[in-house]
């Protein structure tokens, strides 16, 4: 069942000081997110990701088109009871401590008393801020604010969360924390819609992704489907070798590299793979792994974005600033 339905969503911004002209930030976006999915929203800088999320949060009014969350129009206040949102580069009241901020956020959802205290504490621990729970946010680093932001987005135990670049500004441990939190949300059946530039993370946790470029949707679908297309061969890793073995394998495989006592073999087709494997078994070499070679999301993303036609929207876009 679609939990987010986006139909022909379009947003123009007026830019220019004297003569305002519209610049299309988002162009007739159609997209659906299903319940329970972890959905990655990708695209280069300025693609329109944040614009889309702000439209969904009803912070921006669409120029045309519409979007629904949980079956209700995005302007419905009641629907917001069920969702969470982490803004891009978030900023919160710097005179509050994490405990105060989460308590305030909880009250806006009608929470109170022990329940609110319990959730506040467990969320602060979850995002790894237990040691700074009562320190004013003005003394926080960027990554710490980002963590508080994630915590406040979850205070109402939302059915769906929208995270705009949740990993930005985080150290490697912080990124792992966010990955863990997203996975645990997913395990609880929470739908997660997040934008990100960190493709390995996206690849590791997403069910489906959409790629946006210059305000237009390039592609949307299951990660496996998107990447499957491009299996270009297999990589076989073997222990030992050297000398004549290497030479003989060179006759079978397209590529042979010796690295740290291991042979990395690359074969393009199935027939060569079988020959190579038989050779490995006959010579009693230690087989370590066989993996399909396919483009990473990163490579796919690069080819997608660079292949996109230019001038998808008024060139005035660059005039901003």
């Amino acid at each position: 069942m679609p939990i987010v339905e986006i139909e022909n969503l379009t947003k123009d911004f007026a830019v220019g000081f004297w003569k305002k002209r519209p610049v299309r930030a988002l162009d007739r976006l159609n997209l659906q997110v299903n319940e329970g999915e972890t959905f990655g929203f990708l695209g280069p800088n300025g693609a329109g990701k944040s614009t889309t999320i702000k439209l969904l949060m009803s912070l921006l009014r669409p120029t045309s088109g519409a979007a629904r969350i949980l079956g209700k129009p995005v302007s419905s206040t009641a629907m917001h009871q069920e969702i969470g949102y982490l803004p891009e580069n978030p900023y919160f009241y710097d005179y509050l401590t994490p405990v105060e901020l989460l308590t305030y956020a909880g009250k806006l959802f009608g929470l109170d008393g022990d329940e609110l205290r319990k959730r506040t504490k467990s969320l602060i621990d979850d995002v790894g801020l237990g040691h700074a729970a009562n320190r004013q946010l003005r003394k926080f680093s960027k990554g710490m604010v980002q963590r508080v932001g994630l915590a406040q987005a979850l205070i109402n135990e939302p059915k769906i969360v929208f995270l705009d670049e949740p990993m930005s500004g985080l150290d490697p441990l912080g990124r792992m924390d966010v990955r863990r939190i997203i996975l645990s949300l997913k395990a609880r059946g929470v739908t997660v819609f997040f934008s990100s530039h960190i493709l390995p993370d996206v690849e590791a946790i997403c069910d489906r992704v959409a790629i946006l470029n210059k305000g237009q949707l390039q592609e949307a679908g299951k990660l496996a489907d998107i990447l499957k297309v491009g299996v270009t061969g297999h990589e076989i890793i073997v222990a030992g070798g050297g000398g004549d073995v290497t030479d003989e394998l060179r006759g079978i495989c397209e590529e042979v590299h010796l690295m740290d006592d291991r042979l990395h073999l690359r074969v393009k087709d199935k027939e060569r793979m079988e020959r190579a494997l038989r050779f490995v078994f006959d010579r009693k070499l230690g087989l370590i792994s066989v993996n399909p070679i396919r483009p990473s999301l990163e490579e796919h993303f690069q080819s997608m974005v660079s292949a996109a036609p230019d001038g998808a929207r008024p060139a005035a876009a660059e005039a901003r600033n």
């Binding site: 921006l60 978030p90 009608g110």
Partner: protein, 271 residues
Amino acid sequence: MHRILAIAGNTFRETVRDKILYNLILFALVMIFSALALGQLSLGNDNKVIVDLGLGAISIFGTMIAIFIGIGLVYKEIEKRTVYALLAKPVRRSELVVGKYLGLVFTLLVNLAVMTVGLELALWYTGGADPMSYLRVLAVVALTFLSLCLVTALALFFSTFSTPALSALFTLFLWIIGHFGNDLRNFGELTKSEAMQWLCRILYYVIPNFSNFQILDWRYVLQPSSENTWTIPYAQTVDPGMVAGVVFYCIVYVALALSLGIAIFRSRDFK
């Protein structure tokens, strides 16, 4: 309603932790003490110095707090982008504006209460004031508080669409010419030109009339009263109808300013 209260509570906390507030209060204290020291030099009549200074300080500093914190309330929320996370919660934009307003009004109430207690204590300490004087001080402060509610609403209204500097300018401007509301009407009646008359009449109704809040003249606060009534000999009487009128005027004006502010705030894109 619980959301408005939560927002008001947070706004109160924000203002209490705001440096501006402390600067203003410190400034007020320095002013009062230096003036009191000067007052010691003048002959007798300590109470008059105390009342004039005290009520003056309450009015001026109350107005400064209302304007300088009021103009930042909504603006800061947008400028610092805290509004994103807030409005993505089940919070109506109108609730945000009203909550912010009530929060600052509460800050003002607490401030005025503290300053008034100080003033009454000073009055009591020097002694010799008519018992009714204490109540009259309270009445003047209550009217000042009403006028501050209006100033806050104006500051908040401007801050929904303009920068703090401009909002401060607009609010201060209205506050100043608002004290000449009655003069404006009188001038309109005297002038010959029909157009001028209309202009004055329109301005009279559009500009908040702050002279309405001065129905109690400070000069009479210390006058001995007869028969323990509000009546002050040779001076003025406080008519309950008039007070009710001022309260009503204040409520209507605040409601209008906030509604307009909400309408503007609603139409905004937060980019």
